[in-house]
């Protein structure tokens, strides 16, 4: 699965021995494509982020410049959204991890004697992938709306103030982010736990460790590659997401994230330098976090 992309440290690597022009032929088209449509766009973003408004003052028209100030403006103007993005993403990642670990453990370890059940449960975990991301989120919007049975029920039980809402609040946005990225967390966890040799657990308990100690000292360290890759696969898209936080979906006036401001600046306000500088900030912060995190958790062999 692609989801273990971040944690291939344990896979046995063959030592390639052949050196050939064939390799070049195989690599060239794909690599060229990525250079052209991934690297060049990043460079283009950097250039755009430094542009200044054109002399004629038309909306959406800019000229090449070295306008560092764009970054300062973006950070001061959108400081709230930047902080909020990472705060929401961290919360969603933690919740998704807490939600997924027992689930992945049950599927990957407990259910091992029944492979068909294992596979069925895996299908259910990835089932949300098969239905549009947007429709899923809209479904939650309806289910959590003020008229929904859930909310009226909570209000009837006085668990929620009569004038309170769920949709449009940070709670709903973090909930939506968590829900939408749970499979990204569960699958790599499953992949790591499925490989876990239960003899290690038995050895742990044989050597006088209580179940909780075995879990802490054996299970968690051995599933670390899965945790690392799950955390990254959840955190990155969550930090850049703008669907959950947008007002048409689960968000409200005070929930906009970086994705929302990038989208509105690029597609509506046509303020390309602002959108580009925000994108670069997002990318740099995420790469910094990813690098630091991967270094610390010791799975540096990325792809």
């Amino acid at each position: 699965m692609a989801f273990s992309a971040f944690a291939t440290g344990t896979a046995r690597e063959q030592v390639p021995r052949r050196k050939s022009r064939v390799a070049l032929l195989l690599l060239l088209p794909g690599i060229l494509y990525l250079v052209l449509f991934f690297l060049v766009p990043l460079v283009s973003l950097v250039i755009t982020s430094l542009q200044a408004p054109s002399a004629f003052g038309d909306v959406g028209s800019y000229q090449t410049a070295f306008n560092w100030n764009n970054y300062v403006v973006s950070i001061t103007q959108y400081g709230d959204q930047i902080v909020r993005s990472f705060f929401y993403a961290v919360l969603a990642t933690v919740f998704a991890l807490l939600f997924s670990y027992p689930l992945a453990y049950f599927i990957g370890v407990t259910a091992r004697p029944w492979p068909l059940l294992q596979n069925l449960m895996l299908v259910l975990v990835i089932a949300p992938f098969f239905i549009s991301f947007l429709l899923r989120t809209l479904a939650w919007k309806s289910l959590l709306s003020d008229e929904s049975g859930f909310v009226t029920g909570l209000k009837a039980l006085s668990l929620l103030a009569p004038d309170a809402h769920i949709t449009g609040t940070p709670v709903a946005v973090v909930f939506g982010l968590t829900y939408n990225f749970i499979p990204f967390m569960t699958l790599p966890l499953y992949a790591a736990l499925e490989r876990l040799d239960t003899q290690y657990l038995e050895a742990g308990s044989d050597l006088y460790a209580r179940p909780s100690t075995v879990f802490r000292k054996v299970t968690i360290p051995l599933s670390m590659p899965g945790i690392v890759s799950g955390v990254l696969l959840t955190f990155i898209p969550a930090a850049g997401d703008y669907v959950n936080a947008s007002r048409e979906f689960l968000g409200g006036t005070g929930t906009a994230m970086m994705g929302n401001v990038i989208e509105s600046n690029f597609l509506i306000l046509l303020n390309y330098p602002a959108a580009a500088s925000l994108s670069i900030i997002l990318m740099v912060v995420i790469l910094a976090i990813v690098t630091a995190y991967v270094r610390r958790s010791g799975t540096e062999d990325l792809l």
Binding site: A2, A5, R12, Q14, P16, R18, V22, A23, L26, L27, P29, Y33, L34, F37, F38, P41, L42, S44, T48, P102, L103, Y105, F106, I107, T110, M121, V123, A127, P128, F129, F130, I131, S132, L134, L135, R136, L138, A139, L143, Y179, I182, T198, L201, S205, D206, R210, L232, I236, G240, D241, Y242, V243, E248, F249, E263, Y272, A276, I280, L282, M283
Partner: protein
Amino acid sequence: MTVQEGLVIASAADAPHPPRARRAQFSLGSWLLPVYTALALIFLLIPIAYTFVFSFNNSLKSNISWRGFTLDNWTNVCNAQDVCAAFGNSILIGVVATVVATALGTAIAIALVRYRFRFRSAISLLLFLPMATPEVVLGAGLASEFLGAGVQKGIGTIIVAHIMFCISFVVVTVKARVSSLDPALEEAGRDLYGSPAQVFWRITFPLLLPGIIAAALLSFALSFDDFIITSFNSGSATTFPKFVYISAARGIPAEANVIASAVFLLAIVLVIGQQVTAASRRKRLTRVG
């Protein structure tokens, strides 16, 4: 016996725990996890069930509150013409992007595992980065490139974008398959008088095929469901997710639920069918062996 039970029994045999605590742990370990798993899976399926149920809603313009059961939405999907057109675009884009990305990615995966070359780590990084970059950045970057180059955005630019983000996923998926392929199989092919082309088409390719198919399905799924990158690079062209996004403000027609539900059912049937055939093959193998 579950692993938890095994663990608890094994540790209980070490005796420091009093008997009562042992039994409490036993029942906790054996019941809590399955119940939790069942609830968690149900939770994951709630929005899907909602979407499915509301595809039968006798809705007027917006499909928010329940107005009674009807099959009309299913029988006349293309009544909502925009939905059908958007869906057709999504299929077209998905197919083209999948074919190209799978071909490019498979070639890279083979080269990465089987050949030695310079700039290896740079290439690995280039393949890894698109997966570690938030979609907004990918979308905005491409859009700004197109803007600078004066390219008219439309279905073509969406395809270009989708190929780009699918390649890395194809590489990862196929690479796993290539790595698990015993190089001795290809060597045996060469040893048994197979020319390089014969070895590739008769041995390597058929053995990689499951991985390639998995990569293609993943690509199609990613492309079909992509909204963020698409929205930056679509211009006036619409895809199914973009249509949903645009109509979210004024209400989604129930036909959108129909299409999503149909795609969902098709995918589930495909996956479960594959699982069942794989399981029955396994069973046959064990019976014979």
